[in-house]
Amino acid sequence: MALLSKEPLGYGNTRIAAGIKVHPGITAGDSENLFYEDMLAGGEYLNNPRLARIVAKESRLSSQMLESFGYTFRRDDEGLISVKVARRSGGHSLIRSLVPFPYGGVPIGSALRSAGARGQWDVFEEVVVTRLLTEGNQIRGLVLLHTKDGTLEVIAAKAVVLTTGGAGWLYYPHTDCSRVCTGDGYALALNAGAELVDMEQVQFIPFAVTHPRSLAGMIIGDPAAAGPHGRLLDKDGNVVATEINVMTRAQVAVIISREVERGRGAAHGGLLLDLSPNFASEIGRRYLAHAHTNIAGLNVVKRAYGPQAFKCEEPWEVLPSAHFIMGGVVIDEWGRTSVKGLYAAGEVAGGIHGANRLGSVALSDILIFGRRAGEDAAKYAAGADAPLKRADDIDLEHERISQWHAKRGARPVQLVRRLQTSMWTNVGLVRDQDKGMRALSEIDSIEAESAEMGFRGRPGYCTDLQDAFELAFMLQVARATARSALERRESRGAHARSDYPMRDDKNWLANIFVRGVGKSMLTAVRRSAAASEAIAGIRRATS
């Protein structure tokens, strides 16, 4: 067995997360069912109900997993995990999210890293998996690039579990995600023959920094960060929205982007989030007194906007920022994909969160499905035949690299930046038919140019080389996202279309599937398995 990572082990978005983690059942009246219903309602019924049910059931178990790795949740005065160290995170109907002190991602990352050192498996740090090897519809290994010295290696494997995280970097600089989140796993899965679901559902965290450039895109917080009385203002100080803290991330992101598109944006293209009305009431003041735990990015605010802003006395300019990919590789309860021996878990997997992920659930989901996929993969591998390596397994990578060294076209990073600009403009906060078509034609044109891209080869730590492999992945993910966004002719969850501004339950309680690569990529629409729950849920809400 081997663990592989593009960075040192235990990094990725997990290490930079705020560390707020759902732990249902600590508030009186909470239940597995209620949490499940919140997930489905928040996800606007695109969730795979079986996967959401598992998250509802096993979230508490995943907290134990994390502590068994060496993480410590914040405790109350009695040394216990309780509602006293929790808060209501965006989209949850009650308090069930544990809040770390002072920032939880770093110790979670360290704990996972330590646990990674505990077993006797092989560890490959700083490697980019460039391709999965298959035989028919079955995994037989993978190819990887060592970034340290530029060498390639083949690993024969009966099973591969993708835990490659999301693709927020497709929207740089409008993202708070780590540089490594280039969506490699989605593309690796597509290339191997697996299917993706609902890739149009890209979560934008509504409040992120707009300037200075060095901090643009960094997370301030989700709707709950507004506190009970926070409001959004346009450039002239007109109130655009109040009672923000009960809205979903998607709702707030859409409000901001619609105003900005109408030309109501402030100096750096965002709206103004004004927390000062909270000073006027008792509960507001109580909220602000704990601003440092309530607002994940308060220290970013201080750095970007200064001390007055930090005290919540001045409004903050905010713009949504790509934060999480709800869509992803289609999996079953054990993380299995349609390719034998290929598994996916964590953000790279799709279907769990539907059209909107509730705050603090990702850090449960990644552990729950990581464990399930790992267990099943081990069982599967025990019974599978030993995979064969072939002499020509690395030829494709060698060929690609020597082409890149020979050619003199654009550098990969230039094409990456072009793609990111197009994704933000055309498949960003608010989409429409024309934008979608423009995105696809830009993807075609970048793909064509990438056939000529080139750079000087150099042994060891060659960033151009990593960029080149990642660009190929990003193009696939961009295409899957744009195709799915064009397909969904309604607005639902994180997907907002100006030409179809309403949610359309009659036609679109349905998932969008993507298969295949490049221009032969195919989409298919199937009725959502949560559709019947949706109808029941809607009936409950209206009765």
């Binding site: 960075e7 040192p8 082990l9 990094y11 290490r15 930079i16 178990l61 134990q64 997993m65 502590e67 068994s68 790795f69 060496g70 410590t72 405790r75 009695e78 040394g79 216990l80 995990i81 002190f101 002072p102 920032y103 991602g105 770093v106 110790p107 360290s110 890293r113 330590s114 646990a115 990674g116 050192a117 505990r118 560890v123 740090e125 700083e126 340290k148 780590s178 540089r179 300037h211 200075p212 450039r213 060095s214 901090l215 895109g217 960094m218 220290n299 970013v300 970007a304 550098r411 990073v413 230039q414 930046r417 750079f455 150099r458 042994p459 060891g460 730590y461 060659c462 960033t463 151009d464």
Partner: protein, 224 residues
Amino acid sequence: MDTVTIEVIRYDPTQDAEPRPQRFVVPTEKGATVQQALMHIYEEQDSSLAFRCGCRYRYCGLCALEVDDKPCLACLTPLKDGQVLKPLRHLPVLRDLVLDRSWVFDTMRNLQLFIPEMEYEELPERIFEPEEHKRLMQCTECLACLATCPYYDYRDASFGGTYTFVKLAQLHFDPRDQTDRVAQARKLGVERCAACRKCQCPLGVPAWKSATSVLLKHASSRRD
């Protein structure tokens, strides 16, 4: 457009006998950081420049380097005219500003820098996490502290260095851990740290106060 001139200490082990300085003129603006300058150089001026960048703000610790001889994080350091950028001293350099970090994981394995495996039912429900533990767990593992430690050298296995002492102290304060971390620290020469106190963390993790000095105190009290 406003610009500043900075110097980057470059090193390519396949070509250079010694590290060599190179000057770059880069654009600047209000709030510009060293990281922004490095990204600009890579994208617009010199594709061979190697540096690490992870999260762009504070949490991954991968961008640590020295600016004007001071260990810091590139993403948090304001860009200024005349700055000199170097890789962290005392550590192995792969290329330019990029350190070889592979030894860190080996150290974690060799010193067993993790709590023991436990069944979930065996995990304590009630935990009173010491304040020191909370603070030490904010260590991003950026390794900048090792560049402030006068005794540390990656080639010298007899001395642990700040980072390792912080990891040992994290476990020392962890109620779930069973191993004698003080004995490990002693074996790794923590007693050399007496009367030094030069270790510093760019993010303010109390490496001396809550880690090295604590291990040292316990180690010294066991001397006889």
